[in-house]
């Protein structure tokens, strides 16, 4: 496996691509794909829905991290689909405790590793990675995560954002976007999505990034970077959910891509306080295309869509100025 360097990054090759080729046709992109580990540390046989974004996230994270990790998951889809006793999909050490405490559990492991290494009770130092859903991150696990980030334990926290409580059957969370239907927001979510990466950046941790599974090389690179950094880091990855969003399973990657191209989700990183956009869409796709591809936005009026578009335009101008 070759570590992706700054120069070889796919982001750059996209900008170079004057022919405007899509990612799967871009030579550079395919070249880098070959450099991603073929080893699967999250095995098949899990209970994820067809096209599950969470599963793709976990696979990509483990491809980036390799075996020397301990993974913490709070209660949620990822936990439930992967560990029905006596089976497990995890080929790395993994622990689940409760719904709201992934941050605290991860900090305990991180500090245990530190002291046990010091005392010579263990030989190698695994990286602690928490992989949590949006409910377990932006809502119920918020306090525990904030505490862990503020204390600066050596750990990477990844929020796998599918924008609602999918495990319990699609209820709104603080990460649900404006207008989206869920069973507890039947008229559409009436508040904007909580800007969790910005809140994490406010903790002044060394590394915060956003990603999507639809741009895997960008995501993998960010995971690798986060792991290489000593201290607390946070990656917020958008992971489309066919069941909760209402689209066919084979469209998961397309939806993540559309979210970025339409400006619903911006890819950036903040390394030691330095903000950098890591991917600029070649052309801005109208948000309507993204919204119309999902049942959760089917009820939106033209007026609401216009409002969402205006909001995006404002944020787009800010991000890509």
């Amino acid at each position: 496996m070759i570590v992706l360097g700054e120069k070889a990054s796919y982001v750059k090759c996209r900008w170079k691509c004057e022919a405007g080729l899509s990612a799967n046709r871009c030579w550079y992109y395919r070249q880098h794909l070959k450099e991603v580990s073929e080893e699967e540390l999250f095995t098949s046989g899990h209970r994820g829905c067809a096209g599950c974004g969470n599963v793709i996230t976990v696979r990509l994270v483990l491809k980036a991290s390799g075996k020397n990790v301990v993974v913490v998951s709070p209660t949620g889809c990822t936990e439930v689909i992967s560990t029905p006793y006596p089976e497990t999909s995890w080929e790395v050490p993994w622990i689940h405790a409760n719904f709201e405490n992934a941050g605290a559990v991860a900090s305990g492991i991180s500090d245990a590793v530190k002291v046990l290494l010091r005392k010579g009770k263990i030989k190698s130092k695994p990286k602690v990675i928490a992989i949590a859903g949006d409910g377990g991150t932006v809502d119920i696990g918020f306090q525990s995560l904030s505490g862990a980030m503020e204390r600066g334990h050596d750990m990477l926290y990844i929020c796998v954002d599918n924008e609602a409580y999918m495990n319990t059957g699609v209820q709104r969370s603080g990460a649900t976007p404006y207008g989206a239907y869920t069973t507890t927001s039947p008229l559409g979510q009436d508040t904007p999505k909580k800007d969790m990466p910005a809140i994490m950046a406010a903790h002044r941790i060394p590394y915060v990034a956003t990603a999507t599974i639809s741009l895997p090389l960008d995501f993998i690179e960010k995971v690798k970077k986060a792991i290489s950094i000593e201290g607390a880091s946070y990656i917020h990855v958008l992971a489309p959910c066919p069941t909760g969003w209402g689209f066919p399973g084979e469209k998961t990657i397309e939806l993540g891509r559309l979210a970025v191209d339409a400006g619903m989700w911006t890819l950036y990183e903040i390394l030691n306080g330095e903000f950098r956009v890591t991917y600029k869409p070649t052309a801005k796709v109208p948000v309507k295309e993204y919204l119309k591809a999902q049942k959760r936005f089917a009820h939106l009026s033209e007026e609401t869509i216009k409002k969402i578009q205006e909001d995006i335009d404002k944020r787009w101008a800010e991000a890509f100025r």
Binding site: T88, N101, Q143
Partner: protein
């Protein structure tokens, strides 16, 4: 309150250990607990302040800062996270400790069930304090008794020495492969936590021999990856619960073995129930925690007038059913003096458990005396009243439950 000296502990001390130079200092119970943690080679401590526990974690912070303990000290943002951090640290291979009280314990309660279900040998000190509302920072035992079903071993200390001794024994018991359950040492808020008593600190070498380094059977280790805290469906969940119950039963034997080993180098004898002037007595006053000292004083004073003795319950989980039956078989009435109440039952949790123990065996009256809630003093005069009520009830008890000193 009595010192360890007046409990006759020195009488039982073996000659060998008496000859050894032992460190004995005057200290609060919170200091005694911190000193015991220092002796146990703890790896990870999670700390969050709450009255009246706070000085335990303050002492530990100082010990860690001075490198007297080689541990990571995690300053968590809540008690829920305190225990959660240990639920991570323990399977990573660390020996762990935290301390809490009252609201903190109740906030932790979700994770307490998890820690026990995951069979993690975490040790915790709980400074017994009343629960809100109304808010009250003073002592009773409602907090720990409210989490009696969480699958934790529970000890109750009468004095500082017992608290110190129990913390050390807890690691030995919890880390036993046949047990692997977390344990909790309860110390009465203020009555113990903030009270100075002469307390003997065992020799570090002796403790090291008694308590070998923690070697977990299963760890979060990338070399041999394991899945912890999976979910179990209806086809297997019940068996996990049954295993917990079996482990708790194993703990009874392991607790006795640990007590025997501990006696070997300290000369202090521990058993589930301490019997005080109990031989051939009609009335048994069953006590929990620091109130035992007062009750013993009163029994000393009135032993010629009344046929009364004391059974001090040191351990609530596992519950010593056999010992209770044995004591009841020789008595005519049991008066349970306790600082908690089950609302809706109008009795304390200890009294109902005693009745549970006696069901189907010798039937004697068991009276529940609710005292000292929210830190109200339990003076000798109250104990005298209790003895009189028990004496009168020998013929025919008027009622099962008494709220003492109710205004």
């Amino acid at each position: 309150m009595r010192s360890s000296q007046s409990l006759g502990m020195s009488d039982t001390r073996t000659l060998a250990s008496a000859k050894r130079m032992l460190r004995k200092d005057v200290m609060t119970c919170n200091k005694a607990v911190a000193e015991s943690v220092k002796l146990c080679d703890v790896d990870v401590i999670a700390a969050y302040p709450i009255t009246p526990q706070t000085s335990i974690v303050e002492y530990l912070a100082e010990f860690v800062a001075k490198k007297e303990i080689d541990a990571e000290y995690i300053k968590v943002e809540s008690e829920h996270s305190a225990l959660s951090a240990l639920v991570g640290a323990s399977p990573a291979g660390a020996r762990t400790f935290t301390a809490t009280s009252s609201q903190g314990l109740i906030l932790m309660s979700e994770v307490m069930f998890t820690a026990s279900g995951m069979r993690l040998p975490i040790v915790m000190a709980n400074a017994n304090r009343a629960l809100s509302a109304p808010l009250n920072i003073w002592n009773d035992q409602q907090d720990s008794l409210a989490v009696r079903d969480s699958g934790w071993i529970q000890f109750y200390a009468e004095n500082n020495q017992e608290a110190l001794d129990y913390v050390i024994q807890c690691y030995k018991i919890s880390e036993n492969k046949k047990v692997m359950l977390p344990s909790m040492v309860n110390l009465d808020g203020f009555y113990l936590t903030h009270t100075l008593e002469p307390t003997e600190i065992p020799d570090k070498k002796d403790v090291k021999k008694f308590l070998p380094p923690y070697e977990p059977e299963y760890r979060l280790d990338p070399e041999s990856p394991l899945t912890f805290g999976f979910f179990a469906g209806p086809d297997s969940y019940q068996e996990f619960r049954y295993e917990q119950q079996k482990a708790m039963e194993n703990a009874e034997r392991v607790i006795k073995e640990a007590a025997k080993d501990y006696y070997g180098f300290t000369g202090r004898k521990y058993s589930a129930i301490e019997e005080y002037k109990l031989d051939k007595k009609d009335t048994v006053l069953l006590t929990v925690g620091s109130v035992s000292g007062t009750v013993k004083e009163v029994v000393d004073k009135l032993e010629k007038k009344y046929s009364v003795g004391v059974a001090k319950l040191r351990m609530f989980r596992p519950f010593p059913f056999e010992e209770i039956r044995r004591i009841a078989s020789r008595a005519k009435i049991i008066g349970v003096i306790e600082k908690d109440v089950i609302i809706g039952v109008n009795q304390g949790a200890v009294a109902t458990e005693i009745k549970n123990a006696l069901y189907g065996s010798k039937s004697i009256p068991v009276l529940s005396f609710i005292v000292g809630l929210g830190g109200r003093d339990t003076p000798p005069s109250t104990v005298e009243k209790i003895i009189k009520i028990c004496e009168n009830a020998l013929e025919k008890p008027e009622k099962e439950s008494y709220w003492m000193d109710l205004k």
